[in-house]
């Protein structure tokens, strides 16, 4: 089906309309030299003071007269030599002043498209378009585009990736989005307060510098330990609050829309059928309130949060939309490993659980912080059964499922015969599951 089209495209070699990024782009790294100077001044204040007093107005002006045009020229040239174009099947990015780089990204292979707006970019009215493709470590990104242009481009890319005809892909426009859920800031704040990691890092940031002060009485060691620890504590509490503020999940024909952020806004789109695993995490202190956190794995993507905090029923309904045809198995249906598994993993064996439904393989781990991983059968890349000598003595074995997002989901310490049956059955299930899986071009 697709091959003749590709051949035609290659033969015709129609000129492709290339576009440039937003003219504000050259200013993108303008802060870098300033940051270097400030860093130097902070690092060595005395010497900076001396140098400053020695600077005369003439040398300062001369330096500025050389540096500013040079930086401006560099910024302008990188912007001038960066082009992108959307063809029928690819997004082409051409960039590089000295080292040229041309990237052709196949549209049907795109795993997710994000639009992010750092704070300053929001002020300037521009945004960054990020593409997740399997196999690349670094995200390919177009930074910056006008905010409206970025939205239009995302809609066009998704329409083409979905399989709309290239002529109409322009007009399809943005798929209508229906809001499924919005996390209230109060709930988010409470959930972060009830997270052990927040308190752990805060306690470390208080205790470690105090102990160091008592032991050494040196301001520098205290500062050197306090700054990174406070930074970590801030990142795990305030940082997460800022990043996950106003978390909105929407549903559209193009897939799930995730919008979030207080200062930096991010708008992520995960097209249908791209989700490899879903994890439902339930920290100990959230259990009384019935809250859970939902994480997902998409091949080639670093975004992993689907819902920072939500009541269990709502989270389950969202998961059902991410994994079509799947329901989250209720807690009662998860089967524990046999009792003798306790010989291999005392106490903690009680946290393990497994349930296999028609659509998903669900494995739970963790005693206090429960985490339930769901893998759709169609996403299983390979199945492994592993058994060590001690496990064989007690007649138990582990079953590993490898998924395309480079995550392995493990059902630990199952009865040996059950595990062998699982291995055989899972191979069969993932084969039949793939047959019913949706095509890469989800609208085709």
């Amino acid at each position: 089906m697709t091959t003749p089209g590709v051949d035609d495209a290659v033969r015709e070699r129609r000129p492709v309309a290339e576009r440039r990024l937003h003219p504000v782009t050259p200013l993108r790294r303008a802060w870098a030299p300033v940051a270097v100077l400030i860093g130097w001044a902070v690092h060595d204040p005395d010497q900076a003071q001396r140098h400053l007093t020695r600077l005369t107005t003439t040398t300062l002006l001369l330096a500025l007269a050389v540096l500013v045009p040079a930086a401006a020229l560099y910024g302008f040239l990188t912007w001038w030599f960066t082009h992108f174009a959307v063809t029928d099947s690819e997004l082409r990015i051409r960039t590089g002043l000295v080292f040229r780089r041309t990237a052709h990204i196949r549209l049907e292979r795109i795993q997710a498209i994000d639009i992010t707006q750092p704070l300053l970019a929001r002020v300037a009215g521009v945004s960054k378009l990020k593409l997740d493709v399997i196999g690349t470590d670094k995200k390919d990104e177009l930074a910056f585009l006008g905010a409206d242009e970025a939205r239009a481009l995302r809609a066009e890319l998704l329409a083409r990736a979905a399989g709309f005809a290239p002529e109409t892909a322009h007009e399809v426009g943005e798929a209508p989005s229906r809001q499924l859920l919005r996390v209230p800031p109060g709930v988010l704040a409470v959930s972060l307060v009830l997270t052990g990691a927040t308190w752990g890092t805060l306690a470390a940031a208080v205790v470690v510098p105090t102990v160091l002060w008592l032991a050494t009485e040196s301001v520098w060691t205290v500062l050197a330990s306090a700054v990174p620890l406070l930074g970590a504590a801030g990142a795990s509490s305030v940082g997460r609050f800022v990043a996950e503020y106003d978390w909105t999940v929407g549903e559209s024909p193009d897939g799930l829309r995730l919008d979030h952020g207080l200062l930096d806004r991010a708008h992520e789109t995960v097209p249908p059928g791209r989700v490899q695993t879903v994890r439902i995490v339930e920290p100990l202190l959230w259990r009384r309130r019935g809250w859970v956190r939902v994480e997902l794995d998409v091949a080639g993507s670093s975004n992993s949060v689907l819902l920072p905090v939500a009541p269990r029923e709502i989270a389950e309904s969202v998961v059902a939309r991410v994994l079509p045809g799947a329901t989250v198995p209720p807690r009662a249906s998860l089967s524990r490993p046999p009792r003798r598994a306790g010989r291999c993993m005392p106490v903690w064996w009680r946290g393990y659980g497994l349930s296999v439904t028609d659509a998903v393989f669900a494995a739970r781990t963790g005693l206090f912080r429960r985490s339930l991983s769901l893998v759709p059968h169609a996403k299983v890349q390979s199945v492994r059964l592993a058994q060590g000598p001690w496990e064989r003595l007690w007649g138990v074995a582990d079953v590993h499922l490898d998924t395309g997002a480079n995550k392995t989901v493990t059902a630990r310490l199952r009865d040996a015969e059950e595990a062998a049956e699982l291995l055989r059955g899972q191979a069969e299930r993932s084969r039949t599951g793939r047959k019913d899986a949706r095509p890469d071009r989800w609208m085709a």
């Binding site: 399997i134 791209r274 490899q276 091949a299 169609a378 996403k379 299983v380 890349q381 390979s382 199945v383 492994r384 059964l385 592993a386 058994q387 060590g388 000598p389 064989r392 590993h400 490898d402 998924t403 395309g404 997002a405 480079n406 392995t408 291995l423 055989r424 899972q426 191979a427 069969e428 993932s430 084969r431 793939r434 047959k435 899986a437 095509p439 890469d440």
Partner: protein, 172 residues
Amino acid sequence: METGSPENTGTAGDDQAAAEPGWTGLPPGLLHMRRLLLVVWLGLLAVGLGLLLGLLAGPGWAAFALLPLGLIAWGWVMLGRNWRSWRYAERADDLLISRGVLWREETVVPYGRMQLVEVTSGPVERHFGLASVQLHTAAAATDATIPGLDPAEAERLRDRLTELGEARSAGL
């Protein structure tokens, strides 16, 4: 596209074939190579140790050279057990690899999930006329390698796996 049985097995026997896969062991070449390497390296070590200790510390100390010899005997048996534990089966829709004596591992890779099939052969392996086949899927954790195959068999397996992979190919 069809995920039926391959031509050589009838549809009627498919269920039976799935239940009882036709396991293939490894040819003895790999065992010979590993045992030879074991004997050569540990033998050299034993001789070196024996000479050194015998000359510098007295003949009594040279008895320590028996240690590597003991290791050779132990390794000889272990290599044999390990070699016997390796086996693979080409089923209608997936490849099965089973290995390990104490730490047993069994891997199933559906043909449609294969991204790349690799045949590798290092200088030592080449000298012994051996080659390994490695399967890659989109998951890096997939560890599907069949070592020590006859090069002709390795190439046959590679071609067959590639062919089956194309026929049953599925996206991510």
